[in-house]
Amino acid sequence: MSTFAPHLEPGQLMHVGPGRRSSPREWRWRDRLMLGAAWAGGLGLCLVAGAIVVYMGVRGIQYLRPGLLFTRPAPGVVQSQSGGFLDPLLGTALLTLVGILLAVPLAVSSAVWIAEYGRPTWLARIVESSIEIVAGTPDIVIAIFGLAIFQLSLFAPFSFTASGGGVYGKSFLAAGAMMSLIALPPLFTATRDGLQAVPTHMREAAFALGKTRITTIRRVLLPSVRSNIATGVTLGVSRIIGDTAIVLLLLGGTLHLEAQGSIPGLNLLKGTGSTLTSYVYDNSPAGEGAAPQKAYAAAFVLLAFVLALNLLVDRIGRAHAAARGLTAAGGVV
């Protein structure tokens, strides 16, 4: 007979209910303080984010006129004469295109190589840590490295050469090449993680049918990680359109898209221009022209793009999870 068992009369049932939940009121004051601080921290961050979006939204509605999106900037001193930001808008689009087109092949093939081949192991580790280093390098350092590279006479065809023979080193190609380094780490990580999550039996099934490794990659693995690559591309695009340092150093900062050379298409890539980020910077009190209304309007458009890309990442992730029969992942980013 156990001493600890409650003494029950015959026929009486033991009371089994939900355990008494501990209420924060009974905790020690230190734990209560931490609970309060955690709530305050979490809600505080959300409030800051909300305040930024609401404030930019109000300013955007106040200053953004549809005409601004379709007029070219003009060199005016007064805000009413300085035109819109059609050229920076096109510049952002062109730069993003160049950057992503360069980044995708590089990132996807290194992710495939790391995840599917990865021999010799030490080399694979070196490649992975190089990408980690690229992710940790400040964009301003990448920008100034780009300037050093593209001012070499070897790369003279990629930008504008002055009459004295000095290579200018600033063009859409130069900036786009460096932008691809910014977009590389998120793209690589998304693709690699996707490939590593593909179950082994899918590869084994392809091998059993007599497919080679590379055919398996092309016909089975890459199609199944399409949504991961899409997520990576979206993250990369949002990095590129938000980056300012590379644009300031490598795009020349001209008001209009200035073409260089006579070959249509290529001359734009060799030319200089500006993007939304550099337009905001130049029109803020920190830049030359103090036109805060234009800066707010352009910043609102920029933030709208970033918001849209964020929603896109969410949707891709959710559709992917639904396709795989999982619930939406709780992770952030």
Partner: protein, 327 residues
């Protein structure tokens, strides 16, 4: 030609091609170190490491370089960049601890404490905070926070007390650190949240079953298990804080002044310049060889710190990996 590409590749050639493309990334990193170091070499060779010391006004020293000839004498490279290095260290050292505390609290809130409905809102909102471009932070800083600090927080007597040395406009340490904290916190929250969700549920439930309250369970069990991820988050956030250029350039008053803690409260309102913002500020003067060498020396310092940080993170994480939780 196209027909040849469409045919299935031999496996060997595919492996070699993909490997070669991957090696391109290593080559780029190597090229980055070599090129930045080569261009920074004159500054190092003429002054050793003494250019990191203090003495004189950096802005004037760099200004003097602009006029020098194409083949400048060694004396033209003279610079004492301590105020700029100090600015970088100061902003980072002030922003990272605050951001870490905030990020730990916020991620514990999101993963463990928040009701499900609130969590569904909080995750995308904080993710948005991480992806707001730095130029927008800078714009809000320079158009909203700087005038507010300049007009309402700095008293006339504070302005008068330092008016012979530096002008207080509101742009300076306080605004720069505040915005920097907001910028790096979501990066840490992302990494810490991911690690928190990967801790096995049973560990926390075990602690709860022993009668510990939820807050205690998180701090005693879950946070200990994810220490490698916390280190990784701190490393990444420090790298981001050291390298932030555009926002700092916009809100920090753009003067190479070293804020002095003995000035009391005024300390927080004094302008400063960091390594990264100095690069942006001097990017117009890169035509002059002496300026170019100095600016690349700044960039080399940033690159070096990125390498040191990633090595330090790796070394700190090694002994912490015993729980096999990711990070």
């Amino acid at each position: 030609m196209l027909e040849r590409l469409r045919r299935p590749w031999p496996d060997n050639r595919a492996e070699r091609t993909l490997g070669a493309v991957s090696l391109l990334v290593c080559v780029l990193v190597l090229a980055m170190v070599v090129f930045v170091a080569l261009r920074a070499w004159p500054t190092f060779s003429h002054q050793g490491l003494s250019w990191l010391g203090s003495g004189g006004d950096v802005d004037k020293q760099i200004g003097n370089m602009v006029g020098t000839s194409v083949h400048p004498p060694p004396s033209a490279f003279f610079v004492r960049a301590w105020p700029i290095v100090y600015g970088s260290l100061l902003t980072t050292a002030m922003a990272v601890p605050v951001a870490l505390a905030l990020a730990l609290l916020a991620s514990v809130f999101i993963v463990e404490l928040a009701p499900a409905g609130l969590r569904r809102i909080a995750i995308p909102v904080i993710r948005l905070l991480a992806s707001v471009p730095s130029v927008i932070y800078g714009l809000i800083g320079v158009l909203v926070l700087v005038p507010f600090v300049g007009n309402d927080l700095i008293s006339a007597s504070q302005k008068a007390s330092v008016q012979n040395v530096v002008e207080l406009t509101g742009a300076g340490l306080a605004v720069a650190v505040a915005i920097l904290t907001v910028m790096i916190t979501p990066i840490m929250v992302a990494l810490i949240c991911e690690a928190l969700t990967s801790v096995p549920r049973s560990w926390r439930e075990g602690a709860l079953a022993l009668g510990v309250n939820p807050v205690r369970a998180v701090s005693a069990v879950t946070l200990k298990a994810i220490r490698p991820a916390i280190v990784a988050a701190v490393v990444l956030a420090t790298a981001r804080a050291l390298g932030e250029a555009v926002m700092i350039q916009m809100v920090s008053g753009s003067r190479s002044f070293a804020p002095k803690p003995i000035d009391g409260w005024t300390f927080f309102f004094e302008p400063l310049r960091t390594l990264a913002s100095a690069i942006i500020d001097n990017s117009e003067g890169l035509g002059a060889p002496a300026v170019r060498s100095t600016v690349y020396a700044f960039a080399f310092l940033l690159l070096f710190s990125a390498f040191v940080l990633s090595a330090a993170g790796y070394l700190i994480k090694l002994p912490l990996r015993k729980y096999h939780v990711q990070g």
